[in-house]
């Protein structure tokens, strides 16, 4: 009995071992992922003519469902044979599944542009729209700087110019909001013209026993502050090279050290809300709306909420430069849409994207609290929205809209978030912080 038991156990062990080893020997067949080439062309056809017959486009997105619904309704009115089926996902769901979704056979025809799109573009899973840029004349309808954010760092095979992997609907930009009443109390008489003047204003607010600057550094508020300062100190081209992963680019520059030092200094001087590191961006916005701080770092996406609560009491300015004559530079991006390579209706998708650049779409976008790509075509906004539109106009005119620093690598957001938290708490040396960013950058761009 004992022996058969032992034999049986040995057999079982052998089977287990074989089950473990077998996949290893049959490696090729079982290697995860697929190297299968993307079916179909890599760029849109040169013709913009939408074929006759009923077409259904599936649009997957994560931002502003109300705006998307309104845009679709308006588009379908003008294109009776095309219907667009919206598929809304929450942002984190959307970003997590983006790669799987876009490489599957059931990929949507149109999808919102997000961080992972650069890799998808490199592998040919989304279409290069450069031919349509010329055919539809998008350069005239949209500030070219907004389109140049969507090149994924590539040259177009179809046109030889810059590639284009998305068309923007609403644009975004970060900057500083200020509470006019509290500013007056602290003796601040208007938006600063230089970083140094802004520092004086922060000091004045501190002296008046107010919290100078609200930062929501629990999530991304801290990195917006750091990027806003970096934008003023680091040459824009160098910054772009770094974010785009250009060979040899680095963030370990004296300018970046200075920007990081400023974040530390302001923390040491007590310019931030005490609990900046424990406050989410939405919470910092709510606190600012309640009058807890004189200034707030955030993006235009908060403007609608602040305008509703604070009315005329709130203003906005982009972070000023080192000199008053310096160009206006601010980080921003867009809610943009890309076209999947697997779509059967690239012309219809192109027609939808082109619709986004029309004045009619611009008005819908503006009504939903975003900045339309073509500001001239919409009604003039009022109050803080006008401040933002003006700031954006200046930044566009100065070619000064830069993208967010976390676009440099997929893991960069976490490095930036935790790094800036340490800067705010004065727990890290600027050079060590920048070194951690550059490590991440090099790891991602090594391939």
């Amino acid at each position: 009995m004992e022996r058969t038991h032992r034999v049986r156990r040995r057999v079982a062990a052998t089977v287990c071992a074989a089950a473990l080893v077998l996949p290893l020997t049959a490696c090729d067949a079982l290697t995860p992922g697929s190297a299968a080439a993307v079916p179909g062309p890599r760029s849109v056809p040169s013709s913009t003519a939408v074929p006759d017959g009923d077409i259904t486009l599936r649009l997957q997105f994560a931002d502003a469902p109300l705006m998307v619904d309104a845009l679709i309704a308006a588009f379908e009115k003008g294109h009776p044979n095309i219907s667009v089926e919206p598929q809304y996902k929450t942002f984190s769901d959307y970003v997590q599944n983006l790669k799987l979704t876009m490489t599957s056979d059931t990929a949507p025809d149109i999808a919102q542009y997000a961080v992972g799109m650069t890799d998808l573009a490199a592998d040919g899973h989304i279409l290069d729209l450069a031919p349509y840029r010329e055919a539809y004349g998008w350069d005239k309808a949209i500030p070219p700087v907004s389109l140049d954010q969507l090149t994924a760092g590539q040259t177009s095979e179809a046109t030889g110019g810059r590639a284009l992997f998305g068309v923007p609907a609403g644009l975004s930009m970060t900057g500083i909001y200020y509470n006019k009443e509290l500013a007056k109390k602290a003796g601040i008489d208007g938006p600063p013209k230089t970083v140094a003047e802004f520092e004086d204003q922060l000091a004045a607010a501190k002296k008046a026993d107010l919290t100078p600057l609200g930062v929501g550094a629990l999530d991304s508020g801290g990195l917006h502050l750091w990027a806003a300062l970096l934008n003023q100190l680091m040459p824009t081209d160098d910054y772009w090279d770094w974010v785009n992963g250009t060979k040899g680019a680095t963030i370990e520059t004296p300018a970046a050290v200075t920007a990081s030092k400023l974040v530390i200094d302001w923390g040491r001087k007590g310019y931030y809300n005490d609990s900046a590191n424990g406050t989410a961006q939405v919470d910092s916005t709510a606190q600012f709306a309640k009058g807890d701080s004189v200034f707030l770092i955030n993006g235009n996406w908060a403007a609608g909420q602040l305008a509703t609560v604070m009315g005329d009491n709130v203003g906005f300015f982009p972070m000023p430069g080192e000199q008053a004559s310096a160009p206006t530079v601010a980080s921003g991006f867009s809610v943009s849409y890309a076209v999947a390579s697997r779509t059967e209706h690239p012309e219809a998708a192109g027609a939808f994207l082109d619709f986004l650049t029309t004045p009619e779409a611009g008005q819908i976008i503006s009504d939903n609290g975003f900045m339309p790509p073509n500001p001239d075509a919409v009604k003039k906004p009022e109050g803080v929205l006008a401040d933002i539109a003006e700031g954006h106009r200046r930044a566009v005119a100065d070619d000064g809209i830069t993208t967010f620093p976390d676009f440099a690598a997929p893991a960069m957001l976490d490095r930036l978030r935790s790094g800036v938290q340490k800067l705010i708490a004065n727990r890290i040396d600027p050079s060590d912080y920048l070194d951690s960013l550059q490590d991440e950058w090099e790891e991602h761009h090594a391939e």
Binding site: M1, L20, P23, L24, C27, L30, T31, P32, G33, S34, A35, V95, Q96, K99, L100, T103, G116, D119, D123, A217, L218, D219, N273, D274, S275, A276, N277, G278, T279, D283, Q287, P410, A411, L413, D414, R417, S418, G419, Q421, K422, A425, R427, I428
Partner: protein, 314 residues
């Protein structure tokens, strides 16, 4: 092989019994296999949904893979990378600190409450149990969101401190480099204390009431009674509680993800969070799988140790 109890048979049916024995012996020889057949459905489910995924994870950990394109075989390279990563070592340390808050304190609290509640059966015990069990019923994500508010600038925690004049103590607990990990740990204490108490209470109910009576007759006070009667009978339950809570601490993810997302800095970063980040936002599925395997082995090792210790003591 177990022998049958000898049965006294009357002599006249002897022949028939032998026949029966011959017949009944055939199925008895197959009995070990028959046992497996009964287990098969459960085993199949377990194998498909627990063992296979685990093996698949271990297999994926040998590749450098972004989740989409063809992976590259790197052998044990991912493991090498893991053991060199300072953030990762930090996260394991944080998880071990969490063990104190998720396991040690809840067990002590659970024992104390059991001592208080089990001594006499009072009316309304069910209500107590329900109240203390409540944190277990609420989804952890909701727990995290609630505590994020409680710990906030103007949250209940700070309001309480201000109300009693301790203004100097107030801070954004989850954003404070010194306090964040403790704050997150205390959320775990809140969640798991009730579970421990429930386990211990049900254990106490198995204890023969006459033992307590005897102890009281011998003049034992509440403390003596607890140490000499209750505690020894709860050894099994304590081992179970320790296993469950330690696993909850080491594999913690939801509470940390919702409250601090690992911040400030890396103060509350735990391995579970890194597995998630590596796989889903950084596109390093192989590395994430390797980390998951290491984490799994660590947990298995500690659970084995707990079981071993509790067994050798009894």
């Amino acid at each position: 092989m177990p022998s049958r109890p000898p049965v006294q048979q009357p002599p006249d049916v002897r022949v028939r019994t032998t026949e029966v024995r011959v017949q009944s012996q055939a199925p008895r020889r197959r009995s070990p296999y028959r046992g497996y057949v009964y287990v098969l459905p459960a085993f199949a489910v377990y194998f498909c949904f627990a063992v296979l995924p685990a093996l698949h994870t271990a297999y994926l950990s040998l590749f450098e893979w972004d989740g989409v394109t063809l992976g590259d075989w790197v052998g044990l390279g991912n493991y090498q990378e893991i053991f060199q990563d300072s953030i990762l070592r930090r996260s394991v340390l944080n998880a071990l600190v969490l063990v104190v808050f998720f396991s040690f304190i809840p067990i002590v609290v659970g024992l104390a409450m059991t001592g208080l509640l089990a001594r006499f059966r009072r009316p309304g015990m069910g209500a107590y149990r329900f109240l203390f069990m409540l944190p277990q019923v609420v989804p952890l994500v909701a727990v995290g969101v609630t505590w994020r508010w409680l710990y906030g600038d103007d949250g209940l925690v700070n309001q309480t401190f201000r109300a009693v004049g301790l203004d100097g103590v107030t801070r954004a607990w989850l954003g404070d480099f010194g306090a964040a990990l403790i704050a997150v740990g205390l959320v775990g204490t809140w969640v798991l204390s009730g579970l421990c108490m429930m386990l211990f209470l049900s254990g106490v109910q198995k204890v023969d009431p006459s033992l307590y009576e005897a102890a009281r007759l011998d003049g034992a006070g509440p403390v003596r009674e607890f140490v000499s009667v209750t505690l020894p009978h709860l050894r099994g339950e304590i081992a179970v509680a320790m296993t469950v809570t330690t696993v909850a601490a080491l594999a913690s993810f939801d509470i940390v993800y919702v409250t601090t997302n690992g911040g400030p800095g890396e103060q509350t970063t735990v391995p579970g969070l890194l597995v998630y980040r590596l796989a889903f936002s950084e596109g390093k599925v192989g590395l994430a799988a390797a980390l998951a395997v290491v984490l799994g082995c660590l947990i298995l090792g500690i659970v084995y140790l707990i079981n071993r210790l509790s067994r050798s003591e009894s």
